[in-house]
Assembly symmetry: C2
Homo-oligomer: 463 residues x 2
């Protein structure tokens, strides 16, 4: 049995009905489409889609380990200055593989980890009041080096460091992850002599978790990045040439496309029955939303496609969202993330034996309760004819998380073929960025600013 | 100018087009429907919808303050054992009104706050390894007293307390919030002599944040609950008799209903341009999803209605979800949460003056950047014809958060009238719960268990 399994029984027509589930004919058509889609992806691997080969970059891995060894026990805090693809993977790995109480009680010799993926002045202002830069290593991450949020953070923390430890010494507190040659951040690295790592070409932000973007902060807090990469490589081996029926990435992509396009389910809920995996669902929300949400098809026509990712946590959201999931519109399909053998058991003591509402729990464990609730929700969804699949790992480990992430990356790349859009660009982010530059008064954006200021819009309606 | 404003200019047809925005005729129809809807809610206020009067429960407020004074400085940690409506409001209030680094550096004399809203054995197991029960106060919250998750947690932590501090002393470490008379938890309070507070009748879980459910943990960590309730009362005064054009709750409900039903936008995105308000969006996701997501209409017919709430954070999700929001399907409308005057400014230092990509930021503040990005996103959404509104507070304070929550509660209650469903039940949660009881072997559920075990389903499909 594999260490990660995709159970899609409950997405099929013979379980949830032909109105909501996929038929054998649908699967046969999906299998026929999967071969060319997988071949198309693999063909672009060597030149364009270099993220596919990240699991094999052993020299990068060695250089990260060497750097981590060189700074060992020198810092109380590691702070990631990054956003989007330069933050979501870092958080996902730490939540999956660190303790939820890591920052309260960091293991001896291990720094705390903060991923500052916002520029809300109230968040950063509070951070500056609580964290001592003199005891902190800042990992500045931006592929382009042009991310306004990250550059602003860099300028703020750089100055704080210089004030605290001096011009010379501050350089030891900054490590930059950016393009090998291009961009402002690379130029600054050269001038200041900061330690740096490279985001290779062909590795877009949302596909960068297995590059130094995700690996460096992980290695700094003690995550076994070698095992993470080995897991990803194992998944690559498993999916790269496999037939549809044996290929979890191909099947996952086909389910997403089929349930959306053939069964009118535009909402993809990832419900993590694992606290550890909940931020993998958040990471996947970017991967899916930003890759497939597109105005233009490959032929240049307007298509306005894209599933909407929704992140949920089991059992927590049973008491928040499951009412809607079970009784609301038939516009969703569900991926439950599941852990077969969690690391803890936690017995529930027996007490108040004459009070049935308490007594029935005694003698069980939280593990049994948690898994019974997961199974109960799965049964309720299925009986309400809501297609659902389960992605299950034996245990949450660096190896299985590496497998899971690589599986989802390949699946989304294949979805790009099915939806016939470019899964690797993000043109829709530009408009808001340009408007923000204009409002900030950046040189070259004067015309856009004038345009914004001249907008009449409607009469304001405010209450 | 009010301390909280709803700007709905960009939800109107003359801004985003008649295909996606509401026309003046739509608004006139909504205004005509709003009067009876508001009257129907207010008529049920005295008997059924007792949550509407929570802002005026001064005796409850006094009893909470007295209890908080009696335990002052005795505990290092406060732990909420609750889930769904017994947790989301607590978290929302602490995120809004406490420091993001509260638990790392609690203010002198103030306990840390943990809201344990899951039974994942890996989460609770880790918690048990890190937190000393002898220094901890546990607030057990369940209206019915029958919530399996909360009862299991209670049994586990109760035993840990008894082991740590003894049978007698452990009682000082537990305070229960439950029904006044009914349920296992009330019976246990009577037997054990625990301190307790009451969840009144007519206050469902998702409408309970202004009852002791949300107030007690808030008061324990120093939140000004008097001001919170005063804010809610001020909003009650503002909306309870107001005409449509002056009533932000009525307009908000009409926008949700109109954009969903007249303009085919089933997805309601709440994007918080405020770290402090992000968990209010999470709290609202339950309020909206569980209240309106219903199989049956009031006439008993199957309707399968309900908007899907999606939670996003600005600017963070500009780098994750905004690509989809701007370019994807026209199936969403957006509520931006905004703060006009944040508590912090955070200047961005000038450096690298010859590198334009860094230089243009110097001399600005994070506040300017943050607000320019918010405005940039709003412009991008609007120009892409995506209807969006902004709910803005002057500052995030107990008073404005009280206003915001009460506004949204009344809005959702009014939506129940528009959608013609019961906004105050949650029958769809039952099926999963019963299946979980059956799987746990609870007495009385043997038949369901046999039924589940006998299910053949399809042949399992696992890869």
């Amino acid at each position: 049995m594999s260490a990660i399994r995709l159970d899609y029984t409950n997405a099929l027509a013979d379980v949830v009905g032909a109105e909501h589930g996929l038929t054998e004919a649908d699967l046969a058509a999906a299998a026929a489409a999967a071969g060319p889609a997988l071949a198309a992806i693999q063909a672009r691997r060597a030149n364009e889609l270099r993220w596919m080969d990240l699991p094999y970059e052993t020299a990068v891995h060695d250089s990260i380990e060497a750097y981590v060894a060189s700074v060992r026990e020198q810092f109380e805090n590691v702070v990631v200055l990054g956003i989007g693809g330069s933050a979501l993977g870092n958080t996902a790995l730490q939540t999956a593989l660190g303790s939820p109480y890591h920052n309260l009680h960091p293991p001896a010799g291990t720094p705390r980890l903060f991923v500052l993926d916002n520029v809300d002045p109230e968040l950063i202002g509070e951070f500056l009041e609580h964290i001592d830069p003199a005891r902190t290593l800042f990992n500045v991450i931006s592929k382009s080096g042009g991310t306004a949020e990250t550059m602003s953070q860099f300028l703020i923390f750089r100055q704080r460091l210089i004030d605290a430890v001096g011009e010379q010494e501050h350089r030891r507190h900054i490590v930059v992850t950016t393009d090998a040659e291009h961009g402002v951040l690379r130029e600054i690295v050269k001038r200041e002599g900061y330690q740096s790592f490279v985001v290779p070409d062909g590795v877009g932000g949302r596909f960068s978790v297995l590059s130094p973007v995700g690996l460096l902060s992980s290695a700094l807090v003690g995550i076994d990045i070698k095992s993470l990469l080995a897991g990803a490589a194992a998944m690559d081996e498993r999916v790269k040439g496999a037939d549809f029926a044996d290929n979890p990435a191909a099947i996952h992509a086909a389910l997403q496309f089929g349930l959306h396009n053939l069964r009118a389910k535009p909402i993809a809920v990832t419900m993590s029955y694992s606290h550890r995996l909940k931020d993998c669902a958040d990471w996947y929300a970017q991967l899916l939303g930003e890759s497939i949400g597109k105005r233009l098809g490959r032929d240049g026509s307007e298509v306005f496609v894209g599933p909407t990712p929704v992140r949920a946590v089991g059992v927590t959201d049973q008491h928040s969202q499951v009412q809607l999931y079970v009784e609301g519109p038939f516009d969703k399909w569900f991926t439950l993330l599941s852990v077969a053998a969690p690391d803890h058991e936690v017995p529930i003591p027996t007490a108040f034996p004459d009070l049935e509402g308490a007594a029935y729990l005694g003698g069980h464990t939280l593990r049994e309760l948690f898994q019974a609730e997961r199974d109960g929700t799965r049964i309720a969804l299925t009986e309400a004819r809501r297609p659902n699949v389960t992605l299950e790992v034996d245990k949450v480990s660096a190896h299985t998380v590496g497998q899971l992430m690589y599986l989802l990356e390949v699946s989304v790349a294949m979805m790009g073929e099915h939806y016939r859009i470019d899964a690797f660009d993000q043109p829709g982010v530009e408009a808001g960025k340009v408007a923000a530059y204009a409002l900030m008064g950046r040189a070259g954006y004067e015309q856009r600013r004038a345009q914004i200021e001249a907008r009449s819009g409607g009469a304001p309606r405010v209450v």
